[in-house]
Symmetry: C2
Subunit: 436 residues, 2 copies
């Protein structure tokens, strides 16, 4: 089957990420979607830059309406942002019968009602996973994963810039202005950071989650929005003394009288998982009656994380367009004909680091013998901890953390070490993973 053809409006950071990830992972994506997905047209005012990015793999135009007019394009991806031209192009694309994928939270939080109604009339989809929390599939979780539940509240760190600034203020005791400068220098804040630091961006995202959670229209104009510009380092310190951290949260909650929808700096108990989400990372906590608390964590912005969400929407639309409805989402994620018989490795070929505890005689040369055995097996040592032996005690515990090694090598080393007369008990070995 021919690939599905996609037109891209705007090839900035996220647009380029989308183009590159689609190209890089085209084979895996095709195996999952059941059909290739290709960006064949790109519209950008900076035609030369766009051409330099996409080469001859897509036609570059300066006028997005050329994409809308092309009957071979099934889906358009809107990555222009804002309410102006983006709104006009999305409405025109819908009118032309194109499905739309967008990362534009501002547009949907304000004009979502109009846009979704138009899409419904034309029988097309407007997908927007990328609009909230970047690469975290939180729209899918709320809209499809938690459908059994009466959702009670959502609280999210949904703006990476402000979370980075707050982390810096806490870690380094900086004032807001200094932390903002750091964020700008490191690329976590824009030259004009107003939308982020004033909480507007988070409020757009909270508005969308609120509508999805509670079955209400988008109502950005009703959101209460406070940013972090007034936050002082002293309050972060006092909060810490009391066992709290300060996070900029987007919160929406169902009350008997109505819905709360608000963004503001918030003290959160330091022991909560969400309080430990640092730097530019995002996390969304959802409280619901059947499932209880769930939390979704990941990168909320950036080129490829956001592209991940854009492409997931493209795959959803492609699967719905092309597959037999009863196997729209394949049981094992990949189309049944596309499973590979890749071998599962035997444990001897598995690669991990290790924690070793050896009960050894407290005498000279013990450590030397052990480290020589590890070296002979090509296993390098990351850290050693030796328990101080008590007065008169003639044995001690020796703890070794190793770097990564094949398990087969470690088994050989363990056998040799176990055979040493100075090793007094069975060696304990536990695998170690950095998960980074």
């Amino acid at each position: 089957m021919e690939p599905i053809q996609v037109g891209l409006f705007g090839i900035g950071t996220v647009g380029n990420g989308t183009f590159q990830v689609l190209a890089r992972n085209q084979e895996e994506i095709r195996r999952r979607a059941g059909r290739g997905i290709e960006i064949t047209m790109v519209a950008d005012l900076d035609v030369e830059r766009a051409k330099a990015l996409v080469g001859d793999r897509a036609k570059v135009v300066s006028d997005a309406r050329e994409i809308i007019a092309n009957p071979d394009i099934d889906i358009v991806v809107e990555l222009i942002g804002g309410y102006g031209i983006a709104r006009a192009l999305v409405m025109e694309a819908i009118a032309a019968g194109k499905h739309v994928v967008t990362a534009n939270k501002a547009l949907l939080a304000v004009h979502g009602g109009e846009i979704f109604a138009a899409a419904r009339d034309k029988g097309v989809m407007v997908a927007f996973e990328a609009a909230v929390a970047g690469g975290i599939p939180i729209i899918k979780a709320l809209r499809e994963g938690l459908t059994a539940n009466r959702i009670e509240w959502i609280a999210g760190i949904i703006n990476g810039t402000t979370n980075f600034i707050l982390s810096e203020m806490r870690d380094k005791g900086l004032d807001f202005a200094e932390a903002l400068q750091d964020a700008q220098r490191l690329g976590y804040a824009e030259a004009d950071p107003t939308f982020d630091i004033e909480g507007v961006d988070a409020a757009h995202k909270a508005t969308l989650m609120s509508a999805i959670a509670f079955g209400i229209p988008v109502q950005f104009d009703k959101a209460h929005v406070e940013g972090i510009t007034g936050l002082q380092a002293v309050d972060i310190r006092y909060a810490e003394q009391l066992g709290y951290r300060i996070k900029l949260l987007g919160i929406t909650r169902r009350r008997a009288a109505g819905i709360e929808l608000r963004v503001h700096p918030t003290l959160v108990p330091a022991k909560r998982l969400i309080a430990n989400v640092e730097g530019a990372m995002n996390a969304v906590m959802v409280q619901a009656d059947a499932v209880g608390t769930t939390l979704y964590y990941g990168k909320g912005a950036g080129s490829e994380p956001t592209a991940s969400a854009v492409i997931a929407d493209l795959v959803d639309i492609t699967r719905l367009q092309t597959a037999d409805p009863s196997s729209r989402v394949p049981h094992l994620a990949f189309q049944p004909d596309e499973l590979h018989a890749t071998a599962v490795l035997p444990i001897s070929e598995v690669i991990t680091a290790f924690y070793l505890r050896l009960q050894v005689a407290d005498e000279k040369g013990v450590l030397a013998n052990i480290t020589r055995i590890l070296a002979d097996c090509d296993i390098s040592i990351d850290a050693v901890l030796q328990r101080e032996s008590a007065e008169g005690e003639c044995q001690t515990d020796l703890i070794i953390l190793t770097h990564e090694t094949a398990e087969g090598s470690m088994r050989g080393a363990l056998a040799s070490m176990q055979a040493l007369p100075t090793v007094l008990a069975p060696i304990v070995s536990i695998r170690k993973e950095e998960l980074a």
Copy 2:
């Protein structure tokens, strides 16, 4: 439209949870799915108990084949467990053209290949969100949310019993046997806990995630499985000293030579979010090339959390069966005609706790005046922290944490406190949420 009719095989803990949640949230579920979903038949060997649970809301039979033979039933939910009768009934239901929803990880990890092939031949769906990590929509995240990515590895705390035991061992310095007894007494471990503590249950789940992540058939027989029965308290302590925690992880990783698939106790850096997942909670970390690290956290077992996943699958199937394909998943989660115009509350009616910092004169009666104002506004105090004033200093910081109050009340109180002559600077107020 008539509700879609569902037959339930087995009404134990999860079956009853599914029945109750479907009944309790039927209105919200119908608004989302576009059609009512009703369990109209229940098969259970203990007919009397089943009748006591469902009353006259469903027909109770002792033979599940009566459900399979009923042409009005579109979907069957298999909650019997194990490889025996469950396998036969699932295959028969597929052969009869029923969609199947199951929480049976053991069955799918071992016989998934056969079952999915049969489902494909008959054009029916076998949905199994509940089989991995209970209420966390991790199957959906992997299968639909991360389709853009080349997944590199997955590491999950996917067995609540063992995570509870490990948390107890660490918190209380218990040995494995003592912690197991605690877990059994509190209902977190079964009378025969073998499948959990030996890592078999986690390996079933890791096998399913491995297949979905890498596009390979289910290969439970190739998994390396180690449980936590040999784990000693002393190693948990040493790991802690070195900055690590020990978790039972299900890990699957793509290597050049093949796939790693393994379950074993693992040292994880204490600063990782997943290392801080305590008690019976589950969490799955996914590393993928475009999105980077994402993490999914929630309850991995229990009646209603698991029911949440079962019902999400029922909604998915119902949406696919009945809705116009272009609006299968409604833009705002609820069908467009089912949005309610619930009001967003003004900020004065929002209810939160507060952190207050007052710069006050260091003299008698100051605290009394402030607490009287709060009491008059019906705001109760949770904690007070007063900075010790330095020698000769005549002012100090007074920090107050309040219990929950309407924001309007707090604004009144703030105005009154600000007017006190002993309050020397603008009061800082920051909202506080326990998120529990």
